[in-house]
Symmetry: C2
Subunit: 487 residues, 2 copies
């Protein structure tokens, strides 16, 4: 996935590349002037036009939005969301924006925070595989809240423009992520919250109509507000990261709109974001001409309600269990050969809650065998405490093999009758090579909204998502996903 | 300033040390259990009792509070403050808390942000010299806003308790700063905003009566929200750092009070704050028994309205100018020998605004000779553009000498008549060795409040500050410093 021309600049050349072909028509690259990374990125965002985004890119952004809304609705009743609502309700401004899947309304900044938490709390949202960024979480809630607010003051944001801003926000955060991954992530940062602030700032700034100067400041204000450490994985604070990133990015754009000044070299300066937060960086990833299309086109959606690194294992175990009609009792042991990151992120041997189960490759393998699924139900307290699954997970071993890619797993199941079953997964379902279909996404959405919104309302929200490009007021989408008190 | 016993633990031993002597009575140190840095710190904050704080420490905290309030009032009309107020006013909750020196009221979280910006915007606030942390900025505004809010719901915070929380907040942020300085600062972080979040969380959490478990979470939530890069020095965003740190720390405490869960090892874990944000760290500075008393006792106040690193130069140049009744015309050149940090932070050769002047050692030396002062007036646009000062600053050279300490300078003035004048400053006025008196602090406060509050109101606010320990409702202090619309 290396760029054709790493020295190219992000302006017109990116728009040329946006035709969506892997090898866009060559143009003479504009060399990125030294020290102009932030300004160049800001200028590109400001100059980008909605009509120039290829249809396939808009379609993938629509899928991103739909998947994100389902996750936010599905997560809206979780403890982290309720805690945050209780903590901040006394301090919220006017009820400008909806909390998806709930009846409360909050001011725009708090709504961005809370919907961002909801959308990530199930670990079920979208993933930019190259960086493990969850792109929509910090960007979409800032945009939705802003759209509702603008409509109320007679400045409705067209759905087309919201989609455009979402595409730009994802582009900005993932390009910055590409520039510092994996060093930045390996250091311990939760990259979704650290790059997400930029995405939210750029997207909100686009909707607010910032000038290039203001957009540069907005990115600078985002740079001083990174959110998230990987140490918090397995606690409520993990989902706080994209929520707070959304709120911080939105706040950055609002300040910049008032000409709150900032460095114009926040990304690339000696004491700037990339140098301070990463031991390695490649600015060409930010300013270069893309050879593989838009970052949102590289977005993926999870068929399983847990971190992406466990998906190959779940996919393979479900397949083996279905193909062989396995029961836990038959199994003497399960040997997994996994990528190093799998062990690092999901090495919990004895999870005791559903949330902890999301960080246990042992539980994931066992529950996939026992229940032949990997949805939110399989990461509930019930599933994690199920006797058959608990017994089986103690017979799972995971061996790290640096030759195994993060999208791969080698599974070997030893049966008590002496037989051994094997499965190699190279690309799990939900990966770029094996994407979820639109119908898969609708099924996932419906499952998430079950018990939270009435079915006809769920249908209406999904229809609005698919039609986002034609909506005169994108804020209507957020309102449609509110839970009516009287329902 | 090395600790007597770096392995001691922060509990009872710190209280023993709190007698205020440089060499406290020895007690058998409690070894810090590995991986218990965050929990130990949280437990100590929760268990600390106001009555056990020595009188001298309370006195220094009172001076810290008074100096901070003067700075916040003095900065309240600056552009950064007005911009932030305009940006966030539409989203603020109820008017729960005063903006010092102004008539607006905001919700508690926004008030903490805005008062934090005001207090730092003139670069005139307090300094913990060992770490260059400005300790009050992130802590005091969170506390004042919270005190007003609690009083309105019948849970007034006694002045004594606010002072206690301020002392604890300063202790927490400066100890964490001590543990990572200078590596963390050298990397490019604005340490006031990165450690200040912890100080605000601890202080607000103390007022909210968090349990040890909740305080541990509050520190963890603070850890994921560092604010500030040194790249922003010289722009409005610098003063945003302590304000946002105050807001983030307060938000952390509010979430923790609702049992929003987090890692319990946020400071010391492999992917925790100290490892991720610093290339070096000494946890003994956080958990160790202090040999030199409380961190707030090491706080200093600026006689000059700019970064502390320029103070020796200003002090020396004012002295030379007064002693020799110098005029700019007499001077052929000024040679400064300065510490490396001076050049790094204040190397702007041709400042064009008052704010930029605060980052120019050349302007500082010249204006100190020409105007024989270093107050806010000397860092105004007017002073920076004054022809005599501009001409003289072009004849100033600054040579870095690693043997020169950050509190030192060697000044050599070559006169056109062939004479040379020399001055060595080892400890500038305002340093620990040469502190400002209470009267100096009152003069500074009055100067800052001039034109913003009527003189009798200024007198009343200062009197309330000095009496903070006896106030039944600390929130009264914030209300007293409001600007009456009708005044």
């Amino acid at each position: 996935m290396k760029h054709v021309n790493r020295r190219g600049f992000l302006g017109a050349s990116l728009l040329a590349a946006a035709a969506g072909e892997a090898e866009p028509q060559e143009k003479a690259p504009v060399a990125a002037p030294p020290g102009e990374v932030t300004r160049g990125l800001a200028q590109w965002v400001v100059e980008s036009k909605a009509d120039e985004i290829p249809a396939a890119v808009r379609k993938e952004a629509t899928r991103t939005l739909l998947n994100w809304m389902g996750c936010a609705i599905g997560g809206s009743g979780q403890g982290a969301v309720t805690c945050a609502i209780e903590a901040f309700a006394p301090f919220s401004g006017p009820g400008q924006a909806a909390i998806l899947g709930r009846s409360e309304r909050f001011d725009v900044l708090h709504a961005a925070l809370i919907n961002g938490i909801s959308s990530h709390v199930l670990d079920y949202d979208d993933t930019h595989l190259r960086t493990i960024i969850h792109p929509a979480g910090p960007v979409a809630p800032a945009l939705l809240a802003l759209a509702e607010y603008r409509a109320a003051s007679g400045q409705a944001v067209a759905g087309k423009d919201l989609l455009h801003a979402l595409i730009l926000g994802v582009e900005v955060e993932c390009r910055i992520g590409n520039a510092v991954y994996p060093a930045h992530y390996d250091a311990g940062w939760h990259i979704t919250g650290t790059t997400g602030v930029f995405g939210a700032a750029a997207a909100a700034g686009k909707v607010l109509g910032l000038s290039a100067q203001q957009m540069t400041w907005a990115l600078g204000l985002a740079a001083v507000q990174p959110v998230g450490l990987r140490e918090m994985f397995g606690t409520m604070t993990k989902s706080f990261h994209p929520g707070r990133a959304a709120q911080n990015g939105l706040a950055s754009a609002l300040l910049a709109a008032r000409n709150f000044t900032c460095s114009e070299h926040a990304l690339e300066a000696k004491s700037g974001w990339a140098n301070v937060l990463s031991s390695a960086r490649d600015y060409g990833e930010i300013t270069g001409k893309p050879g593989a299309g838009w970052q949102v086109s590289l977005n993926t959606y999870k068929p399983f309600a847990c971190g992406i690194v466990m998906h190959p294992t779940i996919d393979g175990c479900i397949q083996l269990s279905r193909e062989n009609l396995l029961t836990a009792e038959q199994i003497a042991g399960i040997e997994l050969r996994v990528a190093p990151l799998v062990q690092e992120l999901t090495g919990k041997k004895t999870p005791s809650t559903g949330l902890e189960g999301k960080f246990s490759i042992y539980h994931a393998a066992a529950v996939a065998i026992v229940e032949r699924a990997g949805g939110e139900q399989q990461f509930s307290d019930r599933a994690v405490r199920n006797a058959a699954t608990v017994a089986l997970r103690q017979r799972v071993t995971a061996t790290v093999d640096p030759k195994i890619g993060e999208d791969q797993v080698r599974i070997r199941i030893m049966l008590r009758d002496g037989r051994a079953l094997e499965k190699v997964i190279d690309h799990a379902v939900g990966s770029l090579a094996h994407p979820m279909t639109d119908t898969d996404l609708e099924d996932k959405f419906s499952g998430l909204a079950e018990g939270i919104l009435p079915r006809d309302q769920t249908r209406r929200v999904m229809d609005l998502c698919w039609k986002i490009g034609e909506l005169p007021d994108a804020g209507a989408l957020a309102q449609a996903a509110r839970r009516d008190n009287r329902a």
